[in-house]
């Protein structure tokens, strides 16, 4: 393939050598831009929903405190998300401590045992898994299994009382609140990190560095006619466009379709989809003409394999 947009310089150490197409006002996703809210519209907060009943278990308390500790927030960065600012962190900690006080849970001792069951968002699960892993090294007798059923799937179990904590990449929905009331499930919402949705292309794509939201909509809207890159923008090469996206069960999908196409679930369907974002990374990194989107974390972990696009509103 080849492109008009100035692909000539081939190598380009560090993907940022702006040589490809870049729309006006595009912002690249970095921890800074996301935390500062500059990387709009594709950034969002991530939550834990905790069942109040579960808070009565000392192991849950210990786990959540660890989650919000300095070490826990380090794991947020390590897994590629953006940690809370200290003000935000203080706010979340307060919500948690108030709830603990309300539940009247005894102070956890040195040796805690038991189980904290987590399920939910695949976006959040890397953080929860990392926290779980480190936590269980400190407290070997506490088991913290982390499932990845997606935010919606996780809520189903959470609201049936099967899990203690639900990872969520979006706030709880009206319908889910109703379900909670019906099932008499009390919960608290803890904001624990910020995520940027990242739109990525192949590492060897040298002619594209950014897109507008409008471009993205053109590509992703239902029944989109975009088959080649040149259908998006005549300046782009006349190559087939290969699309990768998360599974429709995921909050990431809901969020992206909502923001880009204006309605949750509204998307073209002829792209390669997978529950597992890792599939998408591999897919995009294997294909020069690919474009995909997934959570910022996966991008951070795979910066050497894929290139993030700057997005203009």
């Amino acid at each position: 393939g080849g492109g008009e947009g100035g692909t000539s310089n081939g190598e380009g150490e560090g993907a940022q050598t702006a040589s490809g197409y870049m729309p006006e006002g595009a912002v690249a996703p970095t921890p800074e831009t996301i935390e500062a809210g500059e990387y709009a519209p594709l950034s969002r907060p991530l939550f834990l929903y905790v069942r109040k009943e579960a808070l009565k278990k000392p192991e849950t308390v210990a786990f959540l405190r660890y989650y919000l500790s300095e070490e826990g927030q380090d794991l947020v960065s390590e897994t590629g998300y953006v940690r809370l600012s200290s003000a935000q962190l203080a706010e979340t900690t307060k919500i948690l401590e108030d709830a603990i006080a309300e539940a009247g849970t005894p102070e956890p001792g040195d040796t805690i045992t038991g189980e904290v069951v987590i399920d939910g968002s695949s976006t959040v699960s890397p953080i929860s898994s990392a926290v779980s892993e480190e936590f269980s090294i400190k407290h070997p007798d506490v088991r913290v299994p982390v499932g990845t059923s997606g935010t919606g799937g996780g809520f189903k179990k959470f609201l049936a009382g099967e899990t203690d904590i639900n990872d969520a990449s979006r706030p709880i929905k009206e319908s889910e609140i109703e379900q909670a009331q019906a099932n008499d499930i009390g919960y608290i919402e803890l904001k624990i990190a910020i995520d940027g949705l990242t739109v990525v292309v192949n590492k060897d794509n040298h002619w594209l560095d950014g897109l507008t939201v409008a471009d993205l909509r053109k590509i992703w809207e239902p029944n989109s006619t975009v088959e080649k890159w040149s259908d998006v923008n005549p300046e782009f090469p006349d190559e087939p466009i290969k699309l990768f996206g998360p599974d429709t069960d995921s909050g990431t999908f809901d969020y992206f379709t909502e923001v880009i196409c204006g309605e949750g679930g509204a998307s073209r369907s002829d792209y390669q989809q997978n529950t597992d974002d890792n599939f998408l990374v591999t897919g995009v990194s294997n294909d020069e003409n690919a474009l995909g989107y997934f959570g910022f974390a996966y991008y951070v972990e795979n910066q050497d394999k894929v290139k993030a696009l700057a997005i203009a509103p």
Binding site: P126, S132, E133, P145, G147, T148, D277, N278
Partner: protein, 341 residues
Amino acid sequence: MSTPTLPAAPSPGSTAHELTHGRRENRLFEGLCAVSTWSSVAVLAILLTSVTYQAWGWLDWQFLTSFDSRKPERAGIFAGLLGSCWMIVITILFSVPIGVGAAVYLEEYATDNLLTRIIRTNLANLAGVPSIVYGILGLTVFVRMFGLFGEQGVFQIEGIPLWGDAVIPLPFGRTVIAGALSLSLLILPVIIVAAQEALRAVPPSLRHASLALGATRWQTIRHQVLPSALPGILTGVILAISRAFGETAPLVMIGAMTFVRFAPGKITSLEVVFDDPSSLVRAPFDTFTVIPIQIFNWVRQAKSDFQHVAAAGIVVLLVVLLVLNGLAIYVRHRSQKNLRW
């Protein structure tokens, strides 16, 4: 008809010429067949070396004794090893008695009627059902129990006498026992067919001799037929078990958890069992992972180092399988030595 040549001179005449002319397509075909055959061997060699190469440096004691981790260098297969062991033990407990029992019925009791003919045809068909379909069956029947008991974990039986406070969830949910039951159904046809063959190889004279001594049918089976068929049955069982060991799709359906940092029943060492024997009862009703699922999970990881972790897991799996196969060959060999007719 060629003209008669006199015996004396081996002339370079027509006969001699006729008889000494070679053929090429023969060689070509043999070559093709040989290449085909040896290419399979080559594929195996490539597969083994490439996997071993990728696993090199990753397969160490730490790998065998660690739980899974988000960091490839910390990730280990311990949970999968224990999970696989539990899975296999329970699968054996279910499938071997039922499989051998079914084979004994078909070979020793069944008369040729519609029912037995249906059973036999059905067995052949079952052997060809894709494994994932067994997963769906297991999911509906063993995990969810048709939803008879509502959602998972809602209904539990506690304080079983002898077992103590071990909790048996009903429905079973995504537990070892649900997986093992599904795998049992999966390998049952294999075991039955192998056991049937072993039973058929027992000479009828042995049965007649026993019956003529006033043994009942069951005594004859129990004391004469089964012991004689045992090596054959064992071989079949081992091969079936090694199939179950590598089976992934049904367990994915059952929902064996992919990121598990614990062993079923919290049994991480022998001490745990001694301290709290009821953990042995709890384990089958615990969530689990198995080696092939861990491999599947690692293969899907984007971090390229997980590729090596997966390869290390594959080496462990293949070693276990080769040991099982070796065992089968050994048993077969022993039986040929011990039982001569």
